[in-house]
């Protein structure tokens, strides 16, 4: 299979997944409001101490982005049934193209998710101006990418299982811990005006490692490849 065909398949799969999300609205109209509600619940649980909320605001954003964002990555409407998977196989689809295409759509949706939740966090928690905040945009992108990589990978491991909806978060949450830690440390380093280079490098390494695993395991994961 030549490279052009691979990327064309990636494009078609990403397009199809976007179209489906546009119709079903699972991420946009269900998960995003759910995440916003979660951001509202936390101040009610820990008390409305303004300096405290300003302090924990970015961290709460990251935790909610991780816990709810993963729901975007393995949303039900992007899960293929067995006949659909078999059809894709017989159309000559490269499993790696499927992984990349699906992951691309999830990253895009996660960016939208973050773009909505970030202002909600600022309004509710009033974290103040963080020096060098434009760096956080890069962090948000790397977080979205990493989360969609882990989520897509875990989603293909749990595809078609009855316990899929409860099992996938259990797999994704511990595996994406370095993403959360590194993102949170960038916020802290920016506040203390320290270097963020190591943490950005860690985020990038993490993304790269999972991307490589995802592409390499795509074919062995395909049931019919035996």
């Amino acid at each position: 299979m030549n490279g052009q065909t691979f990327w064309r398949q990636v494009k078609e799969i990403a397009r199809k997944d976007l179209l489906i999300e546009g119709r079903a609205g699972e991420a946009l109209f269900i998960t995003i409001p759910f995440g916003a509600v979660a951001l509202m619940l936390i101040p009610l649980a820990i008390g409305t101490d303004k300096p405290l909320l300003a302090q924990v605001g970015p961290g709460m954003f990251l935790a909610v982005a991780l816990l709810f964002g993963m729901l975007v990555a393995f949303r039900q409407t992007a899960a293929d049934s067995t006949p659909q998977r078999e059809l894709l196989t017989l159309l000559g689809t490269d499993p790696a193209a499927q992984f990349v295409g699906r992951m691309a759509t999830s990253t895009l949706l996660l960016l939208v998710f973050e773009a909505v939740l970030a202002p909600v966090t600022i309004i509710l928690y009033n974290p103040g101006r963080i020096p060098g905040w434009p760096w956080l945009l890069l962090v948000m992108f790397l977080l979205a990418l990493g989360l969609s990589l882990v989520g897509t990978l875990a989603g293909s491991v749990t595809a078609g299982l009855r316990t899929r909806n409860t099992l996938t978060p259990l797999l994704v949450a511990p595996l994406s811990m370095p993403l959360l830690l590194a993102s949170a440390q960038v916020v802290e380093a920016l506040r203390e005006e320290a270097s963020i280079l190591l943490w950005i490098a860690l985020l990038a390494t993490m993304n790269l490692a999972i991307a490589v695993i995802g592409v390499l395991t795509a074919r062995p994961l395909e049931e019919s490849s035996r």
């Binding site: 990978l153 491991v157 749990t158 299982l161 009855r162 316990t163 099992l167 259990l170 797999l171 949450a173 511990p174 595996l175 811990m177 370095p178 830690l181 590194a182 440390q185 190591l198 943490w199 860690l202 390494t205 993490m206 490692a209 999972i210 695993i213 395991t217 062995p220 994961l221 049931e223 035996r226």
Partner: protein, 244 residues
């Protein structure tokens, strides 16, 4: 593994644990921590076995993907189960050790403790995945892949937490790996060996049990098949309703 060799390993493990325990009791008290440090004889071997066990799970998964041998999958599964047990033991003993020494059960700054906890949950997820997949082939395939992801993740977790820790120095009171007395070290090594034998015994028995489970499952499947094969015959509704 043969039943006879398993029994031999069992006996050796029991002997070794007894020896290890004796050496642990006789080892001198540590200078700053006193007898508290002796929990190290359980804690350190447990943590070491956790890594060994998950390494074996990784290898078993890779071997399955290449050779599709059911034995490799059974070993991978058994080793993960034993590994989760030892990871839990390492965490609990770590917390028990931490309380008198650090003054807290949990130290957020300790890279090993944090990464061990994450590893525990990753492999709890691995076991949950196995339980969720009824078809043996699909189960072996997917858990092999998850075993690979999980094992690649462990160093990343460890590195990130170490990095986290080095930037937040000064939270812990005593480093658990302060210079070790040679007598202490000898006792630790004996316990490491003893625990490794325990690991072999546990994993061996568990693998054997897994084979028996598979055989039972197959026997049931074959008997179902024979009923179906000799023909799902025409339904005899008349006779059934006649009985009612």
């Amino acid at each position: 593994m043969r039943k006879r060799s398993l029994i031999v390993i069992n006996l050796l493990a029991v002997l070794a644990i007894g020896t290890g325990f004796t050496f642990a009791v006789l080892a001198p008290s540590e200078r700053t921590q006193g007898d508290f440090a002796k929990i190290m004889f359980v804690h350190v071997p447990s943590a070491w076995l956790a890594f060994l066990a998950f390494g074996v799970t990784l290898v078993g998964g890779v071997v399955w993907l290449v050779k599709k041998s059911p034995l490799a999958d059974r070993i991978a599964a058994s080793s993960a189960e034993v590994g989760v047990f030892f990871t839990g033991l390492a965490l609990v003993t770590g917390m028990i050790w931490g309380y008198p020494v650090w003054g807290t059960f949990w130290d957020w700054g300790d890279a090993r403790m944090m990464s061990t906890a994450i590893m525990f949950f990753v492999y709890v997820g691995y076991l949950a995945l196995r339980r969720s997949i009824p078809d043996p082939e699909t189960r072996a395939r997917r858990s092999a892949v998850l075993g690979i992801i999980a094992f690649v993740q462990v160093p990343l977790v460890y590195f990130s937490v170490t990095l986290f820790r080095t930037l937040h120095q000064g939270t812990t009171v005593v480093r658990p790996d302060a210079p070790i007395d040679p007598e202490f070290l000898r006792a630790l090594m004996i316990n490491l060996g003893a625990f490794t034998l325990v690991y072999l015994a546990f994993t061996g028995w568990r693998t054997r049990l897994a084979r028996m489970e598979d055989e039972l499952e197959e026997a049931e499947a074959v008997s179902d098949f024979e009923i179906a094969g000799s023909g799902i015959t025409a339904p005899r509704l008349g006779e059934v309703t006649g009985d009612v």
